[in-house]
Point group: C2
Chain length 299, copies 2
Amino acid sequence: MLTPRDDLYPSRFGKQTQYLPRQDPVIHGDAQQRALTGLSAEQLASFDNDGFVILHSVFNNDEVLALRAESDRLRQDPAMRSSKEVIREPHDGAVRSVFRPHTLSDLVANTVGDKRLKDIAQGLLNDEVYIHQSRLNYKPGFRGTEFYWHSDFETWHVEDGMPRMRAVSMSITLTDNHANNGSLLLIPGSHQTYVTCTGETPENHFEKSLRKQEYGVPSDEALSRLIQEGGIVRAECAPGSVIVFDCNTVHGSNSNITPDARANIFVVYNAMTNAVIDPFCTQPPRPEHVCTREDIVAI
Amino acid sequence: MLTPRDDLYPSRFGKQTQYLPRQDPVIHGDAQQRALTGLSAEQLASFDNDGFVILHSVFNNDEVLALRAESDRLRQDPAMRSSKEVIREPHDGAVRSVFRPHTLSDLVANTVGDKRLKDIAQGLLNDEVYIHQSRLNYKPGFRGTEFYWHSDFETWHVEDGMPRMRAVSMSITLTDNHANNGSLLLIPGSHQTYVTCTGETPENHFEKSLRKQEYGVPSDEALSRLIQEGGIVRAECAPGSVIVFDCNTVHGSNSNITPDARANIFVVYNAMTNAVIDPFCTQPPRPEHVCTREDIVAI
């Protein structure tokens, strides 16, 4: 059940999907703020209209190689094996994600705090920003599992208590994202609608949802509607690219049976004025490594 | 363990992958036979070199609609529900395949016996042909599971006793096969090498393997090598196309989270002189609906 306080983006109740219009701008900054992002008018328009923009060749080859080595080191670190910050594949236990890498590695901290990325986040959100979540993602070759469609904001709002749509995600690609290795799929325009999900949030949902999401996913009907309207764009790009996407853009990925693994650093910048409050569900807040709550500091 | 008789294509033993050269031609027919296929020199060369060729617009829209309706009818037929000829998705029980549809439907029988397809099979194999296997495949939207890389011949040889590489498969597409809905992936040139698989065939393997194959799949090393040499081609094509591929061409498909289901009629033509004998493993032969053994009649 919902808490009695006002909820602009209610979800996880009832049996019917609702399509609520977005209550927040996509780009919060004015012309001056937009200029500070360093993005072209075309890139800004793409982000505004589609809910994402792919920036190619942001990091050079040396930077990518260093980040990939650091990512491998963190994934393989024996000290991390039993850490709650490590998420494994359901079927074989391989490490799929390492949370909060920016607190574990100076190199990752410097990368997610890179001025180019920070300028984009601040300019789009028109505020100082902090890191709501960061993770290293690794989708292995041959046996990389799919990740089903979802809006991150739906989860962040309901389970974390992120009040408004004023956060932006960036995926820094460390490997090639090509046609067949399970590259990110995005639904252009999906960020303009808040699609409510049915079913209450179960206890300790986050532990399962980070492996395989079953709640907080849009219905078949909703996905059909969003895809009929916007289509699907596959984010094909070389290592060193940055996929910038709005917190409410619906995305997912197919499985990967090719030999080519995929790895990226995923980081979510949230506006300081949009810091999380109590979750919009009856479950306790998710832990700090999934959602920054204690350590809200502008980068 | 292997039977003592000569086995040109041994597999499922030992711990090391072996790469055995193909012992049979890809196109068995001479120039005159090739001409009878109705395929162009370019298409024949593609089949010979790559191990497959995609024929577009073989069946027209009306034919496709009729076949799709017939396919839906067979999949939904309550009488088929508990039939052994029906294979279901592991996670939700949805019908994924119906075997031997050509014995259940005149329309399907006429389609797999269509002169255009029969001419291709006879011309490529230089022999009269019979149907080794047929099935309706259905990969649903949203929750379509992947199918891992494999050579059909490896299974047909070991588990069915198909002596030589003298069979050709055709996938008649009933839906759009596009970039993101789990279209067939093929490895060009993989048909020229017989990649042995490790591990013995377990009892009643076929019941599981039709849902999720665990034995008779090439090693990571073998797949990396084949894909490094040949790459991956995704068989993107409209409904009514026919993907013609050699029995030893390694193929697979990723999962499908898009709303667009995929359906096809899959049929395997085997040369009459290449009819199955005893399996090349210690397990009993697979049942008739998976491998024609009793009812070997030229079409």
